[in-house]
Amino acid sequence: MTGGRLTYCLVVSRLLLTLVFVLSASSARAQNDDYDPYAEPLPAPKPYNPPPSDYQYDDDTGDYYDTNDNDDDYVYEPPHYLPHGSYAIDADLDDEVSKLPWCDEASEYRIHIADSHLCKLEDAALDRCPGFKAACARPFVGRLTPLQARGGGEGSGEAKKKEEREPTRLELPKAMSGFAQVLFWMLVIAGVVVLIVVIARNLSRSQKEKEGAEALQLEDEEELAAAPKGPVETDVERLLNRARAEADRGEFGKAMDDVYAALLRHLDGNGLIDIHHSSTNGDYVRSLRQQPDLQRPVKECARQVERVQFGTEAPSASGYRSLLERVLPVVTRGGMLLLLVAACVGLPLNLGACDMQQEEQNQYGDLGDDSPGGMSVFVSLLEERGIDVEHRKRGLAELDETTQVILVHGPAQLDGESWDQLLLWARKGGTLIVANHRGRPSEKLGARRTAGECKNLRVPARLSAYAGKLVVAPDDRRMEFEEDVEGTPGARSLLECDLGPYAVERRLSSPDGLTSGTLIVLPDSDMFSNASMFAANNGEVVLNLFIGSPDKLEIVDRYTVIGETSPLAAVAKGQLLPLVLQLFLLAGAFFLWRGAHFSKPRDPPEANRRAFEEHVRALGGQYAKAHASRLVLSNYAAWALERLRERVLAGRKSGLIDLAAALASRTGRSEGEVMEILVECEAARESSAGPGDAARDLRLMRELERLLAETGGTR
């Protein structure tokens, strides 16, 4: 193995180890991190005072009326779809169960730790989904995420304990195809094998070198000089370290050689010079002509080293130190190195953040997610009812008027403008269900989330159609009415805990009072999860009470608004800006560090073969140098006269007179002119060895060429 390859392998192995270390650190950080930058602080719950009035449903009129309201001016207008009665969904749920592996008792499905808090529903879902309880009893997979931490309660604690029992497994992103996963693992295995082989070779080689050095025992300097040269060190840092060690031993000559070699290797690595065994120090200095700031110190270093190597100056400690002081500023790029390290470390951290977001996506983002925390069952039930379910990825500026219900789901984080657009849309007659858990404008919604145990839910008495339906809250959160909210008449609860409302409802009227819509707010989207759909009557209540039977429902989640018109805006909305900036930073640092070249500049390959024309010209040049124009004319004339005879006399053997006559008649020239050319050529044939006049010989050859061209071609 050459020095260059050895260094390359060591550098690669070092990079791999660094990468593994950084990724491990990133993974450990993510694993132990309970901090969720997006989580809203939950305020302390206020004492719950049930609303003094309530609505009752009048079966005769089909309207709600306020039993305590003496003000006849205000009439609550319920959403257009309420009530729908009680659609049975048991049959649909039975169909769905067969698609879910975690409902199958025989399966070994292991629930992701992010869904572990839904195990609270295991008893309530036991009838429809018997395998869920068994799945909850198995160790969870995956990592703790802020979402899981936010779940709190018993489930969370148990999940943590289970996770401690179960070692974390390396999981590949689900987006990777099967082939990509196989390729990934093959690359990892190949990398590990190469690393082991390289380390083993290095160990064996150094052992052999050690043994060889002991056995060799060179006695005099001549033998030492004649000894085969070992691999050349090419790493700048190692050269400098070696130089320091040699200086410590008092070998200042070698130390200066190594310091200077480090300087050249650094320049070579940056593509500024090309180290070659035939290049002198002067060549290297001249290579730096374009960079005078660098050329001057390098020239001074070369001079100093040459004074020791070839001059009479003895190597000394002071010489070594002064050379080192000149070389170090050139070879060290501290700031740049720091920048590179920061970029290299920051990039995996960003990727780790992306990984954490991926976890959240698994729980909330995918409409087809059939895990307990997914919403595939909910979507299927809606589609069974003939509702067109659409996952909205475009912006919210132009909301479709045909959409009747919009569900804000999962970790969707909308800005103020988007909330305004949604609320405006709702005021025009739509139903907006807010079930996300990030960045809610409580003052606009008229309700806020709060912590508190919320085991048994009940439907308010005014909704008599659902009276007695058992609903189980999937988490320990509930809602509170926001006080002093302007324009929030008729804020009512749709589901209640003992301590307060779980789901609240508001009527939203347009400013002109011509249209109105409905706003329903839940603590989070767990009520729409697959596990919740199977628990008690949750599915039936969610579908009938919240959704109803609109023609079209749109789901707004974290992917909404990503589909922007400009790439920059899409990157920003997709929260990829830090990653992209990091990549640009890395590329910029690499550019500054390594220079403009993406690889070592090299001369284009030399053309070894020459064109036939060049050979002919070279041959002609040789004839011209040898003054052999008459020889050339005689050869050409012999060939040309034969050709002319074949063409105009059909190959007959005849004299020049006949040939001249035939050529004159063919070409239209005078016979005398042609005869003169032929006679001169014939004379040249006969005296090929004699001295010639180059200009005259060339003129005759051209005349012959013209005759050939006029009688059928020059070939």
Binding site: V232, L264, F310, Q622
Partner: protein
């Protein structure tokens, strides 16, 4: 004289030469270094590039005698060396020195004279003496032949024999000046420059014969490391085994390369030779000493190409590679 003084003198001469010879700095440097190394120079270039002016200006700045011989086909050896003629007053033969008895001799278009006349210079160039009618007369010190030849015209010329070529320390190829340099030449002429009257230009004599000899002597103290000797030997030996070379360089070439390397080191203010000195002068010292194979010539390979490849193969001592 130390190396720094040497460099100052050299730089001064170069600076003074650049007042009359524009755009030929490398040629001036090569000719000066060859003269300092007690060598002779063969300048190859088309007419009108200032070759004669170079030698005249050089002799003026160095304070040396200068004579010119225009080589023609009918030039006789005695026209170069001189000969015994009958002196009626003394009633006997007296030796009439030829133009070779000078310190700087310009042999203009040397390849126009036949080999017999060219050979008249062999003894002068090698032994720095002239033998006529059995009497050997030494030539003045310093002595340097600066010969020119035209590379384009071949009719009526007599290529220099290898023995003659080998006696030239360096062969310098003069090319046309750059556009800016040529413009500067024209401006000089517009400002009254007259090449035949160098005194009027203000060209100063910076050195004397004695000082020039001291400079030549000072080169003896320039240190040559053993590794440099090995490097020179390696380069010259490679010319003898190169696939395109029929006849490689002689030991005289090795000696010449060593001398020029020393002179080059001194001109840069160093008292030791580095590999760069050797490499810088290898083409000039070797190019006229290589005889190529005919097929290599047909391929269009030049001696410079061969030297270039040899220098790329030769291992530079104490390299970091």
């Amino acid at each position: 004289m130390n190396a720094t003084e040497f460099r100052n003198y050299f730089e001064g001469v170069k600076r003074e030469m650049s007042r009359v010879l524009v755009g030929q700095e490398e040629v001036v440097e090569h000719v000066l270094i060859a003269a300092l190394a007690r060598g002779h120079v063969l300048i190859e270039g088309v007419p009108g590039l200032g070759k004669t002016l170079l030698v005249r200006a050089l002799s003026h700045v160095l304070g040396c005698d200068f004579k010119r011989i225009q080589f023609t086909p009918d030039l006789m050896p005695s026209d170069v060396t001189g000969g015994n003629i009958f002196d009626q007053q003394q009633n006997g033969f007296v030796f009439m020195p030829g133009p070779v008895f000078t310190q700087l001799l310009l042999a203009d278009e040397i390849n126009r004279a036949p080999a017999k006349t060219q050979s008249a210079l062999l003894e002068a160039m090698q032994d720095r003496s002239v033998t006529a009618d059995g009497v050997t007369r030494p030539l003045p010190e310093p002595f340097a032949v600066i010969a020119t030849q035209n590379p384009v015209e071949s009719q009526g010329t007599y290529p220099l024999p290898e023995a003659q070529l080998d006696r030239f320390l360096v062969k310098v190829e003069v090319s046309h000046p750059s556009r800016d340099a040529e413009r500067q030449i024209l401006m000089n002429y517009l400002n009254g420059f007259d090449p035949s009257a160098l005194d009027r230009v203000g060209l100063q004599q910076l050195l004397s014969v004695e000082l020039f000899l001291q400079l030549q002597q000072a080169l003896q103290s320039i240190r040559v490391d053993n590794e440099i000797v090995n490097y020179v030997t390696d380069i010259v030996a490679r010319t003898r085994s190169h696939r395109s070379v029929y006849l490689g360089a002689s030991p005289r070439a090795s000696i010449g390369l060593l001398h020029t390397s020393r002179a080059k080191a001194a001109t840069e203010g160093r008292d030791f030779v580095v590999p760069d000195d050797v490499k810088a002068f290898a083409p000039a010292v070797l190019r006229h000493r290589l005889v190529l194979h005919p097929d290599a010539e047909l391929e269009g390979i030049s001696p410079d190409d061969c030297i270039d490849s040899i220098l790329r193969e030769a291992l530079v001592p104490r390299t970091a590679a």
